[in-house]
Symmetry: C2
Subunit: 292 residues, 2 copies
Amino acid sequence: MDFKNELERKINVVNDELHKYLEVRYPEIIFQAMGYSVFAGGKRLRPVLMLASCEAEGGREEDVLPFACGLEMIHTYSLIHDDLPEMDNDDFRRGKPTCHKKFDQGVAVLAGDGLLTYAFEVMLKKACTDFDSKYVRAAENTARLSGSDGMLVGQVVDVVSEGKVIDADTLAYIHKNKTGGLIKAALMNGAIVAGADDRRIAQYELMGEKLGLAFQIMDDILDVTSTEETLGKPVFSDEKNHKVTYVSMYGLEKAKEEYLKLCREVNEIAGKLGGEGGFLQTYCESLVNRIN
Amino acid sequence: MDFKNELERKINVVNDELHKYLEVRYPEIIFQAMGYSVFAGGKRLRPVLMLASCEAEGGREEDVLPFACGLEMIHTYSLIHDDLPEMDNDDFRRGKPTCHKKFDQGVAVLAGDGLLTYAFEVMLKKACTDFDSKYVRAAENTARLSGSDGMLVGQVVDVVSEGKVIDADTLAYIHKNKTGGLIKAALMNGAIVAGADDRRIAQYELMGEKLGLAFQIMDDILDVTSTEETLGKPVFSDEKNHKVTYVSMYGLEKAKEEYLKLCREVNEIAGKLGGEGGFLQTYCESLVNRIN
């Protein structure tokens, strides 16, 4: 397997499918705004993870694509709403104007709402056309982990904690849910769609929890060690927003240690599930190299 | 059948279920904000219509409740986001402070997002527990009619048309989708969950289209003929917002005529589907009396 080619192929498959879903039609402005944010240069981390876990469990790529694209739409809606003036008030994301700066605030609210709703349209269309309980379970898992048992509640605690002193449990809750929710959904749904048994699905869940936490710690680290040019967004934003992070709570060295420990654990689980040197493990390794 | 008692019973059943779903738990503020808007005094029009069409088709109330509550959550999310300063900028709704005035703007965005996501959690949980294609179809129908083939696109065209001269087709598109989407979903989903055949589901769709349009015209009429006390919201808001309405395009008399014609048609279909003098027809008649 040529890893780089395979990664590029997976990203292209996801992008092609997203382009089909988001083809501009009447009313043009909303599809333009949704497409603008979806195609503003994401790494397709979540869809690639989902394709990888599906592949590792012997599932078909075409079956998992609607769920991979749906999850990317949900990820993008959360970025659009997070960037709004009443939330993080960010003018740039990935080096480009945020949705509400490119369009306007009302359109940005609707583009987020539209992506969230459309994600369920896309997933449920698959479940209606190819009626199988595994698709319904994947859609339910997506709703739960982007909602009341994942991203949404994590984001709520993050927003209300800003500028406040929070304890380690609260910080862990934010990390586990805000970033962890969708990463868990990605890895679990690939396995669910492939028809894996509950024991294996639970392994993907555990892997997602560790990987999600690793990403959050990495974000916290990069915010204080990187540059605006490299990141494509302002650095020291956490400090500016008086935000407690893994780095501010435990220090940079301890954060790096914890990050590397989590990466090793993820690597081990990925090797067991998808095979040593398989795409899943290699992909996770490539992610580690970002700050190492 | 004592209509008033039965209507009250249906509303209570829906409210009890909504209270269970929205029980306040950690993180409290989001469940408080979602509950605040859901329980700010709605008439439960959509859930009652769904219960009525399910009953007319011989379905079980307990099976349709998750879809009725889900749809009410989606309706409420749309109100919360519509009221935001970047949209309609309304401080009051049903005589009470809007979500972003009672809480704050960031929480209001998240409460809307939360209700939209939670609606799918609730519906898909039912589809996972009681695995049947009709539940998947009802969830898919909800996504479609609140999204790219209904409420969302109608709202988009409404927002971008504000202050502009629009033609009759555009006005019809807004009415059909913005209000019509969820009314159609309500009537169709009741029939879908009851296991009705496609021919009958199409009749509920037609009825929903007419009823949705009737409601929109009624809203336009009440905005120029009612008082703030009666409506629980400011009157002449359409004129103030330079909004083209059915009344401003066709005149008050023609609007009233069209409204009554639609009500007669709805009444006729309701009588055929749910029986003359049945709950469905009587409920629709009770709605007509609001401006007659």
